[in-house]
C-alpha cells in the first residue's frame, strides 16, 4: 500500500458507514434475486402452467394435473435447489477461509467421487434401487473422502495448503475413487444406469423425501458454520496471532472442517456433481459483504441458492422439451470464472 493511497482514504467512521449501507443494499438485492429464482423455478418447466393455476396449486390444491406438477415436481425441486445452493455457497466460503486459499472449492476435493463410490457400492451390495435409500451411503462416503483430502492437504505441513497441493490431493483421491467406481459399474449395468444419472449433477426428480433427508445435516452444518465465523475472523490474522489472542486454533479448525463436510456431503449426496458454486459465490459476495465472515457466510448462502435455481431454470429453458442438468450449466458458467480468476495477475489473497 503506497503512502498516497493511505492519505486519500476517507476517515474510518465514514468507511464503515459506507460498508454498512452496501451490506444492507446487498442483502436486499440477494434476497430479491433468490425470490425471483424461486418464482422462475416454480413457474417455468417443460409443461406450461398458467400463473393462475400455479397460485391455485400453492393456496388451494384440488388435485388437478397442474397441481401435481407444481406440488410434487417443482416445489421439491426448488426446495432441494435452495438447500443445496445454501450449503455449497456457505461451504465454499468456509473452505476458502480455512485454507486461506482463493481456489479452494468443495467440488474439487473428492467429495463427489466419495459419495458416488459409496452409493454404487451400496446399490450393488444391498441391491437398492431408489435414491432415498442409498443417499445415506452417499453422505457417509462424501464425508469420509472430504475429510481424507483435507487431512492430506494439511498433513506433514502447516495448516495452509497451497492451491496446487490442495487441488492435486483432490485429484488423486477423486481419481482413485473414480477408478474403483468405474470398475464396479462396468460389472453391473443396473448400477451404471443409476450412477450415470446421479453423477451428472441434477436437482430434478429427487422427490420430497430427499430434501427432508438432507435438511438436518445442512441445518447442523449451517449452525456450526455460523458459530465458526467469529473464530475464522480471528484465524485470518494468522494462527500465531489467533493463538496469542487466546483462541483454541485446533477446535476452530475442527468445527470448520465438520461444518464443511456436512454441508458439501449432504448437497453432493443429494444432487451429484454440482461443481463450482462454492468456488464462485464467495468471490462474488466478498466485495459486497467485506472480509468479515459473519457477513460473508450468510451472503454466500443466499447467492449460492439463487445461482443454483437460476442455473437450473436456464438448463430447463435451453434444451426444451428436454433439459440440461444443473451441474453441466454450472460448470459451463463456473469454469470460465475459475480460469479468469487464475489468469488475474495478482491472485486474491485471503
Amino acid at each position: 500500500m503506497s503512502a498516497l493511497a493511505t492519505v486519500a482514504r476517507p476517515p474510518a467512521k465514514e468507511r464503515l458507514g459506507a460498508l454498512r449501507r452496501r451490506r444492507i443494499l446487498a442483502l436486499g438485492g440477494l434476497t430479491a434475486a433468490l425470490a425471483v429464482g424461486v418464482v422462475l423455478s416454480i413457474a417455468i418447466g417443460a409443461k406450461p402452467v398458467p400463473p393462475a393455476d400455479i397460485w391455485q396449486a400453492l393456496t388451494a390444491p384440488t388435485g388437478s394435473e397442474h397441481d401435481i406438477v407444481v406440488r410434487s415436481l417443482r416445489i421439491p425441486r426448488t426446495a432441494l435447489g435452495i438447500l443445496a445452493g445454501i450449503a455449497l455457497g456457505v461451504a465454499g466460503a468456509l473452505m476458502q477461509g480455512h485454507t486461506r486459499n482463493p481456489l479452494a472449492d468443495p467440488g474439487l476435493l473428492g467429495v463427489t467421487q466419495g459419495a458416488g463410490f459409496a452409493m454404487v457400492l451400496s446399490i450393488m451390495v444391498f441391491d437398492m434401487t431408489s435414491l432415498h435409500s442409498y443417499i445415506w451411503f452417499g453422505l457417509a462416503g462424501a464425508l469420509l473422502a472430504s475429510a481424507g483430502v483435507f487431512a492430506l492437504g494439511t498433513i506433514g505441513g502447516k495448516a495452509t495448503a497451497t492451491p496446487v497441493t490442495l487441488a492435486l490431493a483432490g485429484t488423486a483421491v477423486s481419481a482413485f475413487l473414480y477408478a474403483l467406481t468405474s470398475a464396479l459399474v462396468l460389472l453391473n449395468e443396473q448400477a451404471m444406469d443409476v450412477f450415470r444419472f446421479w453423477q451428472s449433477g441434477s436437482i430434478a426428480a429427487r422427490g420430497e423425501e430427499v430434501a427432508w433427508q438432507v435438511l438436518p445435516f445442512i441445518a447442523a452444518g449451517l449452525l456450526l458454520a455460523l458459530a465458526n465465523a467469529p473464530g475464522l475472523n480471528t484465524l485470518s490474522l494468522g494462527e500465531d496471532v489467533a493463538r496469542s489472542l487466546g483462541q483454541n486454533v485446533t477446535a476452530t479448525r475442527a468445527v470448520g472442517l465438520v461444518a464443511t463436510t456436512l454441508l458439501t456431503g449432504a448437497a453432493v449426496a443429494a444432487c451429484g456433481a454440482v461443481a463450482f458454486v462454492g468456488l464462485m459465490v464467495p468471490h462474488m459476495v466478498r466485495p459486497l459483504a467485506g472480509p468479515d465472515n459473519r457477513w460473508l457466510l450468510p451472503y454466500s448462502g443466499l447467492l449460492g441458492a439463487a445461482m443454483v435455481l437460476f442455473a437450473d431454470v436456464i438448463g430447463r429453458v435451453v434444451a426444451m422439451p428436454g433439459e440440461l442438468e444443473v451441474g453441466v450449466v454450472l460448470a459451463l458458467i463456473g469454469a470460465p470464472f475459475f480460469v479468469a480468476l487464475v489468469r488475474r495477475r495478482k491472485p486474491v489473497r485471503l
Binding site: 506433514g156 485429484t171 477408478a179 450415470r196 451428472s200 459451463l332 480460469v339 487464475v342
Partner: protein, 358 residues
C-alpha cells in the same frame, strides 16, 4: 556426503573427438534392468488367454512357425506391444510436463489432452449408439482413435490458449488445465446420460483406459510417434534442464524460454494425444513413471529414456494384473493403474510437504 548424494554425483564425461556426453552408469543400469523386466512382462502377458501357453510356446511361436503363430503374432503380440508403447509415450509426456510445470505432480491430464479426448469419444460412442440410429458418415470413416486424437489435440489447444498470458507459466498452466478439465468432465457426465445404458457402459470402458482387442493398427501410430518425438525430446534435453530454474536464470542461461517451453509442450501433447487415442486415458502412468525413474536413476530431474522404459514396465505390469486378477474376466488396465497410482501420488504429496517444512 552420504551414500545417496555420492551415487547421484557419479557422471562421467564421455568424449569422442570433439563431441562429449555425460555418461551416468546408474541411469544406464536402471535402463537395462527396466528393458529386461519389460521383455519378461511382455512374454508373461502373451502366455495368458483362451489358449494358455508356456513361455517356451510363446518364444517358439514368435520366432518360428507353429500352430500358435497366428494367435501370438496377430492377437497377443500387438496387444503387449501396444501396452508397452503407450506406457512409454505417456511416461515421456509426463516427464516433459513435470519439467515444464516445475511440479512433480503435473501430468498430461492437466494439459487438456485426456479429458478432451474422453469427451469427443464419449460423444462419438453415444451419438452413434442405438439410441441415435447407429454409426453414420464421419464417425464410420474416421473411427474412434482418430476422433480421440483430434479431441485430445483440441483440448490441449484450448488449455494452451487460456494459460498463455504474456508468456507461459507452469503454475498457471496447471490451474487453468484443472479448470478446463472440470468442464470437459461435466460434459462427459452429461453425455453418458443421454444415450442407451449399454452404449454408456462401452464409453465407460474407453474412458477408463483399456488395452482390450488392440491390434497392429493401434501399435503403428504410437510407434511412429515415439520414433519421431523421442529423438526430438532428447534434442531438447538441455533447454528442459534449464527450464527447472527460475525464469531469470533460464533466460540468463541463453534459453529462449517461451519458445523452448512451447516446443517441449507440443511434444508432450502429441505423445499423450497419440497414446490416449489408442488406449483411452490410462491413468497415472504419466504421473508416476517419471518420478519412479528419477528416484531409481538418482538424477535431479526425470531422465527421459529411463522414464519411458519405466512407463512401459508399469503399463505392461498393470495389464498383466488386470488380466489375471479376476480371470477369465478382464479389468480395464486403467482401473489397475489408477488404483495403484493414486496412493503413490498421495505419498508424493505428503513427502513434498514434509521436505518443504524441514
Amino acid at each position: 556426503m552420504n551414500a545417496k548424494t555420492a551415487a547421484r554425483s557419479v557422471a562421467r564425461p564421455l568424449r569422442v573427438s570433439t563431441m562429449s556426453w555425460l555418461l551416468r552408469p546408474r541411469a544406464l543400469l536402471v535402463a537395462l534392468t527396466s528393458a529386461a523386466a519389460l521383455f519378461l512382462l511382455m512374454a508373461l502377458n502373451m502366455r495368458i488367454g483362451d489358449i494358455p501357453m508356456t513361455l517356451a510356446d510363446v518364444v517358439a511361436a514368435t520366432f518360428g512357425d507353429t500352430q500358435n503363430t497366428f494367435i501370438i503374432m496377430e492377437l497377443r503380440l500387438p496387444r503387449a506391444l501396444a501396452g508397452a508403447l503407450i506406457g512409454a509415450a505417456l511416461a515421456l509426456s509426463g516427464a516433459i510436463t513435470q519439467a515444464i510445470a516445475r511440479n512433480p505432480l503435473a501430468s498430461p491430464d492437466v494439459l487438456g489432452v485426456t479429458q478432451g479426448a474422453s469427451v469427443t469419444v464419449v460423444a462419438a460412442i453415444v451419438f452413434s449408439g442405438t439410441a441415435y440410429g447407429g454409426a453414420s458418415g464421419l464417425l464410420a470413416t474416421l473411427g474412434i482413435p482418430v476422433l480421440g486424437l483430434l479431441g485430445g489435440l483440441a483440448g490441449a489447444v484450448i488449455v494452451y490458449a487460456f494459460a498463455w498470458r504474456r508468456g507461459l507459466e507452469g503454475y498457471r498452466l496447471v490451474l487453468v488445465g484443472i479448470g478446463i478439465a472440470a468442464v470437459f468432465t461435466n460434459l462427459k457426465y452429461w453425455l453418458l446420460t443421454v444415450g442407451d445404458v449399454h452404449d454408456s457402459s462401452r464409453a465407460m470402458v474407453w474412458i477408463t483406459g483399456s488395452l482390450h482387442a488392440r491390434g497392429w493398427e493401434h501399435v503403428v501410430p504410437v510407434a511412429l510417434a515415439l520414433a519421431v518425438l523421442l529423438p526430438a525430446a532428447l534434442l531438447g534435453t538441455r533447454s528442459l534442464g534449464a527450464l527447472r530454474f527460475g525464469d531469470d536464470t533460464v533466460t540468463g542461461l541463453g534459453v529462449r524460454m517461451n519458445r523452448a517451453r512451447s516446443a517441449m509442450l507440443l511434444i508432450a501433447v502429441l505423445l499423450a494425444a497419440v497414446a490416449t487415442a489408442s488406449a483411452g486415458p490410462v491413468a497415472f502412468v504419466a504421473l508416476a513413471a517419471p518420478q519412479i525413474a528419477l528416484r531409481l536413476a538418482g538424477t535431479a530431474q526425470p531422465p527421459l529414456v529411463v522414464s519411458a522404459l519405466v512407463g512401459a514396465v508399469l503399463t505392461a505390469g498393470a495389464d498383466l494384473v488386470a488380466r489375471t486378477l479376476f480371470s477369465p474376466a478382464e479389468l480395464p488396465v486403467g482401473v489397475v493403474t489408477a488404483v495403484l497410482g493414486a496412493p503413490y501420488l498421495i505419498y508424493l504429496l505428503v513427502r513434498i510437504r514434509r521436505e518443504r517444512r524441514t
